[in-house]
Amino acid sequence: MATSIRNTKMLLRRAFSVKRNETLARNLCFTRTLNANEDQDDSKKVVAEKKNKAELREAKQKEAKAKLNMLLESMSKTTSKAFPSESTLSLATPKIRAKPAKPVKRTAVNTKIEPEMLQAVEDVSNMLSKEKEASKNSLIAKLEAVADESERARLEPFKPNKQKTEDLNSLLNTLKVDGKKPKNKPPAPKLAPVKVEDIYGAQPSGIFSKAHFKEESSAVSGLATWDMLYERELELAVTHPPANGFQQMIRWTKQGKVWQFPIDNEQGLDEEAQVGFHEHVFLEPHLKPWCPRRGPVRHFMELVVVGLSKNPYLTVAQKKEHINWFRDFFEAKRSILIDTGAIPDITTKSSPSIST
């Protein structure tokens, strides 16, 4: 018994939600494809409920029935009043599709009710056995009334009515439910758009029909600084606190704070990039103009040159300067060097190097 009452309440809640979302109407009568399965479930529930109802105690049944009727009545009374038919929105009005009259095999009663639903009604009335026809007709009449009502409501733009909602709420609250309330809410309101407003729905005025735009028109007399600042602003508008370490590194890279990928250890050494590798390594040509061909001075200078060629910390200019310093040094000490025989006395033979 408790379950049956709960079922009644569930029905009421469903009906209530329909009021708001116009879904039940479609669940019951219209949506074939989407909710066909659900409908079947629903109709099964209805059947179960009807079965139980037969075993109900008189009083409870009457109460529940009275409330259901009251609710359905209040729904039908108020909808026509509450929703004025004038609507400024021509688009939201769906075309009332002429339903192809599908002949239902056993009962070609009407076309407004889903075949599954009709089947369910049939089953119920079979169960009742007595006054089979009467109960069937009354059930169908009820369903039809609901269907009509929801159809009418569906075509009106939806406006929630606080007063009515309150009434329904209070009505619902007076019902006593022994078991748990249903845990699932009704399915999400699907206000399926009838006709989607297309952004290209209008006729163009033809203002551009004869236009001939210059190719580089945007570049002509452009505001360079203005555009740069706008771009900057645009970039800042989508620069948000970094969401991970990589994004942070991207920011740092753009600010020039970290090495760029792929790693290049000569990055940013633009001046050095002008100088070739060979100029760093092959320094002997710089000795050629002045250094004696053999002897301790030559030996020493060769060692200096080898050392310099391996030194990565000096620029080529610095290396040349280094070599030139030794040249000047040996030039200054020239007489001593000749005396000690470190360089051959070449006044006679005229060495090309140091004298020049």
Partner: protein, 670 residues
């Protein structure tokens, strides 16, 4: 050239003796044993892909795209320390800004003690780490310095340098550049680019609707303009754009006419600015539309091709037309017109379309459905500053206008794409977006679906505001999904909302909406039902909070109310926790008149019945006392029941009489 690929293959074979095998490995990813005779015929060509030049951040961007947003972790900016993970909006904001404050302090020190940061041992030298040069009296003021400041958007410094320089000695290009610069920023110094958090939390200024006049009248921009001997069209353009940008529509309009009178042709940016102010210089809709059409015609005449920002400026102007029908028709016509010249709308255009079509109190329009269809097909690139306002507005429309949860979910899926995540705007727009989303879900979804999304968003992506959280709890209560309430309660505590009276009210309402323990589930004896545990935790939390507040002499707005205690008592009775229920009744009796609402009579009755059942006369008397004091009608019947069914000793009898006082005597007599 034809045989080039074959040649390639031949070289390959030549180079490697077992070229066949290598090749098959290379092609298929696994070794294939070659059969002898197919050797020469199957020499496939090797196509070496073209070299793709990569930028310095490309690798990082590819890596970053592999990191998905993790809803279970706090945002990257917060410290990875459980103690420092913020949950409430207030904490999030203050933690992020605190970090930024540290960054600012470091910047300040670097600036104030510049002499300490002069070492240059990094090679190449990193400009960003060196202190900015301070402008002193001795600093030589040059044109290059001015250019540098313009380029790095340092407004105050640029203005300072300009003041020191001889304006007439500057090159015309620099003067023009400076004019544009001053007009763009309206002489206001800009927030340093480094302070990313501050910009994030600065409430949404860019998408604001009202044009406020912020233009500095007779300011530097106009002075620079007037000082030019020969007024170039560019100078006019810069001034007009600046005035339009900063809300001085009339001034911009005047200079525009002046410019036309001089015979100059405005450029594209200037036309766009004029469209933007069309609604202000022309009062009624009809003239505004005429002005727009005229301006468009003159653009066509000058051969200037409009771009997407032109479209957005026109739509922005139309969105201010109060008459729905006119605005709607004109905007659709403009869109179709722009389609003929191949200008595709950006997100900003859609934003204005929503403003035009989905007005408050206006008729319901589902244009957003079409827009989302388009966006799912192709996402336009970022082109306009208004683009970032789209998602918040669209979600607002989903929630308040269409009430369409499916559409909202599609929109959310769009935003969740990695390349679109930056389009949310700022923290303000983000909170609008998620607020609308969650509010819509509370109305449309069942508890399971709602909680699934709730768990995904809260608390790391979004912290609900008080009213949103209340809506979630109410929605849960409506379905009696009491199993989620413990989780919500712990979230409320976590998000600093456990001390708010309205939150406690709805939470307890939800907690009491259940129907007691599930008899089917057999639980351990030591196992406390989570609902019961939550009820106990709430009592302890509130009591503790009140105690601390009292001890520290803090004023608090939190008070126990009758309905809160009623719901708690209901839960305890449901779960058979008599001791706690008694505790509640004692609390009710001590607080009595301090309670802002009444202890509900239904729960009182239930409690009373349970007292009778277990013959607890002391508690029963307490319940009667409360009923009498509150003037409940039930008090007399309760007293009667007490006399009949309870074994009262003499003192209790006396007490009962004294409680009932005159009321009972009269009722007994009658």
């Amino acid at each position: 050239m034809m045989s080039y690929p074959n040649l390639n293959a031949l070289v390959w074979q030549h180079l490697f003796r077992n070229a066949r095998r290598l090749q098959s490995v290379w092609k298929s990813g696994r070794p294939i044993v070659p059969n002898g005779n197919s050797f020469s015929t199957e020499a496939k060509e090797i196509a070496i892909p073209n070299y793709i030049p990569r930028g310095p951040t490309d690798i990082l961007e590819a890596l970053a795209s592999t990191v998905k947003r993790d809803p279970t972790a706090p945002h990257y900016k917060f410290h990875d320390d459980p103690y420092l993970i913020p949950a409430s909006n207030h904490a999030k904001r203050s933690y992020a800004l605190a970090q930024e404050a540290g960054r600012k302090a470091a910047n300040w020190i670097k600036q104030e003690h510049a002499e300490l940061f002069q070492h240059r041992n990094a090679e190449p030298f990193i400009e960003a780490f060196s202190p900015a040069e301070k402008l002193a009296e001795t600093t030589p003021m040059t044109e290059d310095l001015l250019k540098k400041y313009i380029h790095t958007s340092q407004v105050a410094n640029a203005i300072h340098v300009y003041g020191k320089l001889d304006a007439s000695a500057l090159s015309p290009e620099t003067r023009q550049s400076f004019l544009e610069f001053v007009a763009f920023y309206n002489e206001e110094d800009q927030l340093n680019e480094d302070f990313i958090e501050e910009r994030w939390f600065k409430s949404g200024m860019k998408g604001k609707d009202q044009i406020r006049q912020t233009w500095k009248n007779n300011g530097l921009a106009e002075t620079v303009f007037n000082s030019m001997e020969r007024k170039t069209p560019e100078a006019y353009c810069a001034l007009i754009c600046g005035m339009a940008r900063h809300g001085k529509a009339v001034g911009a309009w005047e200079y525009y006419n002046q410019m036309l009178a001089e015979g100059f042709t405005p450029n594209l940016t200037t036309y766009n600015s004029i469209f933007k102010i069309a609604g202000i210089v022309r009062e009624d809709a009809e003239h505004q539309i005429i002005l727009i059409d005229e301006t468009l015609r003159s653009m066509v005449h000058a051969g200037i091709q409009p771009n997407v920002r032109t479209l957005n400026s026109i739509l922005e102007s139309i969105s201010r037309i109060p008459i729905y029908r006119v605005a709607r028709e004109k905007s659709l016509q403009v869109l179709s017109d722009f389609k003929t010249i191949g200008v595709k709308p950006s997100l900003g255009s859609y934003y204005f379309l929503l403003k035009i079509f989905c007005r408050e109190k206006g008729p319901i329009n589902n244009i957003l459905v079409g827009i989302v269809n388009r966006l799912e097909y192709e996402m336009p690139p970022l082109q306009d500053l208004h683009d970032v306002a789209f998602f918040a507005e669209a979600m607002r429309v989903c929630n308040y206008h269409l009430e369409d949860v499916q559409l909202a979910k599609r929109l959310h899926d769009l935003l969740c794409l990695p390349q679109n995540q930056t389009l949310i705007g700022d923290s303000y727009k983000e909170s609008i977006y998620y607020r609308c989303f969650l509010l819509l879900l509370t109305r449309a979804e069942g508890p399971e679906a709602l909680m699934e999304m709730y768990r995904h968003l809260v608390p790391n992506i979004y912290t609900p505001e008080q009213n949103v959280f209340e809506a979630v709890v109410k929605s849960i209560a409506e379905c009696s999904a009491v199993q989620y309430v413990p989780e919500l309660w712990s979230d409320a505590v976590y998000m600093d909302m456990g001390e708010r009276e309205s939150i406690l009210e709805v939470l307890l309402e939800a907690l009491a909406s259940g129907s007691g323990p599930d008899p089917k589930t057999v639980s351990d004896k030591d196992d406390v039902d989570p609902v019961l545990a939550t009820a106990r935790a709430i009592i302890a939390h509130v009591d503790n909070f009140l105690k601390v507040a009292e001890e520290k002499d803090r004023t608090t707005s939190l008070r126990w109310t009758g309905s809160m205690l009623g719901n708690l008592a209901k839960v305890f009775l449901q779960y058979g926790d008599v001791a706690s229920a008694n505790g509640i009744m004692i609390k009710v009796n001590t607080l009595k008149n301090q309670l802002s609402s009444f202890f509900p009579v239904a729960t009182l009755n239930k409690f009373y019945e349970s007292c009778i059942e277990r013959q607890d006369s002391a508690m029963a008397l307490m319940a009667i006392a409360y009923a009498v004091e509150m003037g409940y009608d039930e008090s007399s019947s309760m007293a009667k029941q007490a006399r009949e069914q309870l074994k009262l000793d003499e003192r209790q009898q006396q007490k009962l009489n004294s409680i009932l006082g005159s009321t009972s005597t009269t009722s007994e007599e009658s």
